[in-house]
Amino acid sequence: MPAASQQQPEPLLRVENLVKWFPITQGIVFQRHIGDVKAVDGVSFELYPGETVGLVGESGCGKSTVARTLLRLEEYTGGAAYYKGQDIFKLGGSEMRKLRRNIQIIFQDPYASLDPRMTVGDIVMEPWEIHSDVVPKDKRRTRAQELLERVGLNPDYLNRYPHQFSGGQRQRIGVARALALNPEIIICDEPVSALDVSVQAQVMNLLEELQGEFNLSYIFIAHDLSVVRHISDRVGVMYLGKIIEIGDEHQIYEEATHPYTQALLSAVPLPDPTKRETRDRIILEGDLPSPSNPPSGCNFRTRCWKAEERCAEEEPELIDRFGHGHPSACFFAEERAAVL
């Protein structure tokens, strides 16, 4: 397992109060700005070398937007993200290009993220067209074959096209492409959610092996709580663009204090029929509120059974109020008997 954060006080990546709003406009010629979708609204976390930070949450909570904004695939609205002390959002074009070599991404959908008209070899070698000093031209084919072999594919498949592979194999191609530039950080945006269970386990094993081998740090984004638990050292739970609780794997899964985390954990169907009757389940009422018009005060109060007047007036900060050992954005944070 990757080393815990105590030995390395210097984080590789520090995200501070990241904000990404998407404007809502009206009109075709004269576009009036009538509101914002607050996809990410003040997210802070750190990533240490060799560590995996998991981000979980339901669809629409902003976890993928965090990933895309960190790579500047979306332009940020506010906040800062420091990679080794350098603010990513302040970099110019050529500096940013250099930085992307160190931060790579694996996308969710292995069908949409590989160009169907490029061969596997072209896909894996394409990063070297831009960063030509990484691998000299005459060694590229051999290096690509090594990469394919490393991710568990036949190195002779270099000339095949993506449609000739299954979902799991395609995701391996995506992994090989992300490894091509020897990055330090890989952002995994739902890398296994499109895969069947038996294949999902293969890809997760591969990611863990590679982490040890190349000393990679992962930001692992997924909605499947058990997958995130398995792979992460620390986990942040997101709701409506904010992290509402963050802690190490044990603190989140065994000692969760935020009502939303507890509800989320208790809603996960467990593959164990003997727990069917004994489990204390919390079924949340209603749906996620719209991120363009989030509730006042605490975002979660509209679905929360603990909500009081104070929750509507004041926004709870993400701090450790009662000495639980990890921060939780709830005025009434308390532990609850095991729900998972």
């Binding site: 397992m1 339901e58 669809s59 299954s166 799991g168 194999q169 069947d196 269970v197 038996s198 294949v199 999902q200 386990a201 293969q202 997760m204 094993n205 863990e208 092996e209 909605h223 709580l225 058990s226 997958v227 638990r229 398995h230 792979i231 794997e249 899964y253 509800a263 989320l264 208790s266 809603a267 996960v268 169907p269 467990l270 593959p271 164990d272 029929p273 003997t274 727990k275 069917r276 389940r281 079924i283 949340l284 209603g286 749906d287 996620l288 998972l340």
Partner: protein, 353 residues
């Protein structure tokens, strides 16, 4: 309304000739489904058999391409050409639906057997209001006027716990959230009080908190109506939460059939064992997962003998030549593996670390 239902049912019974003495509500026997393609015949379902009784919840568990959805379409009689059913029987109250003329089948479908699809947004028509879509089936089958049908639609939406149903009857599918759309689908399926409900991955597209709401709703409705529920899913967690009996499918065939607790406690087929080992578990954090090697087979070119043998740790020579029948394990469950006894022993040993 219940009185009208009884009259309707009686007249239908006489018309189509259901056998009131039939052993099971639904009895599927040796079902085969195939699709001819340019690359050869794809054998999606190869000899599926199961029975379903009133109030029972049966799971059909399998990964993509195992034939679980296609088998449901075949039971509903909605396999589209060029797909065909070369062999098999689907007995509802003893009546073979595969031999029933399509006009008669239209009366049975919805009335006796209904289905919920995975993706509610594509299954609903975007240009009609949800009230119209729910009411349509009621109008067609019961011949009521528009006003009564709309009122009934609102009642149904209330029953599936859509808040403020009366004001939302005239809303369109895009105005509903994913969970609410799935409730609309359930309302449609329940509009004629079917005896059998087939739910094809009803919660796969939904978030966990909403998934829990929908699964709760389905089991409450089942308690109310006593219908038989067939749940088609790939999710071992969902199955463990709600089902009584499980059929594990692989490459179009049942690998193992067992009561729910036995299946999870001591699987008798290597594929089931592999699936259970593939799920991340809290007590095994920090250790690599134990996945099934290889890929699921191409259905146009299914391996000889046992379909699973190229990926199986227990495989021996006989597995590549002789397809195992469903061996009886202990009277309650069956396993399609020549070496099921060894699989049982492997499970009872402490899992490898």
């Amino acid at each position: 309304m219940s009185q009208g239902k009884q009259e309707w049912e009686q007249s239908l019974d006489e018309e189509v000739g259901f056998d009131p003495t039939a052993d099971h509500l639904l009895d599927v026997r040796d079902l085969h489904v195939e699709f001819p393609t340019d690359y050869g015949v794809v054998n999606a379902v190869n000899g599926l058999s199961y029975t379903l009784d009133r109030g029972e919840t049966l799971a059909i568990l399998g990964e993509s391409g195992s034939g679980k959805s296609v088998s449901a379409l075949a039971v509903m009689g909605i396999i589209e050409k060029p797909g065909r059913i070369p062999k098999g029987e689907v007995l509802l109250h003893g009546l073979d639906l595969l031999k029933t003329p399509s006009r008669q089948l239209r009366d049975i479908r919805g009335e006796r057997i209904a289905m919920i699809f995975q993706d509610a947004l594509t299954a609903l028509n975007p240009v009609y209001s949800v009230g119209w879509q729910i009411a349509e089936m009621y109008r067609r089958h019961r011949g009521t006027d528009k006003k009564t049908a709309y009122k009934y639609a609102a009642d149904l939406m209330d029953r599936v716990r859509i808040p403020n149903a009366r004001n939302r009857v005239n809303d369109y599918p895009h105005q509903f959230s994913g969970g609410m759309r799935q409730r609309v689908m359930i309302a449609m399926a329940l509009s004629l009080d079917p005896e059998v409900l087939i739910a094809d991955e009803p919660t796969t597209a939904l978030d966990v908190t909403v998934q829990a709401q929908i699964m709760n709703l389905l089991s409450e409705l089942q308690d109310e109506t006593g219908m038989g529920l067939i749940l088609i899913t790939h999710d071992l967690g969902v199955v463990a939460e709600v089902c009584d009996e499980v059929n594990v499918m692989y490459a179009g065939r049942v690998m193992e059939r067992a009561p729910i607790r036995r299946l999870y406690a001591e699987p008798a087929h290597p594929y089931t064992l592999g699936l259970l080992h593939s799920i991340p578990r809290a007590d095994r954090k920090g250790q690599p997962l134990d996945p099934i090697p290889g890929q699921p087979p191409n259905l146009a070119n299914i391996p000889s003998g046992c379909e699973f043998h190229p990926r199986c740790a227990f495989a021996e020579d006989i597995c590549s030549t002789d397809a195992p029948p469903l061996y009886d394990v202990d009277g309650q469950r069956q396993s399609a593996c020549h070496f099921w006894e060894e699989v049982l022993r492997a499970r009872s040993q402490p899992t490898a670390t």
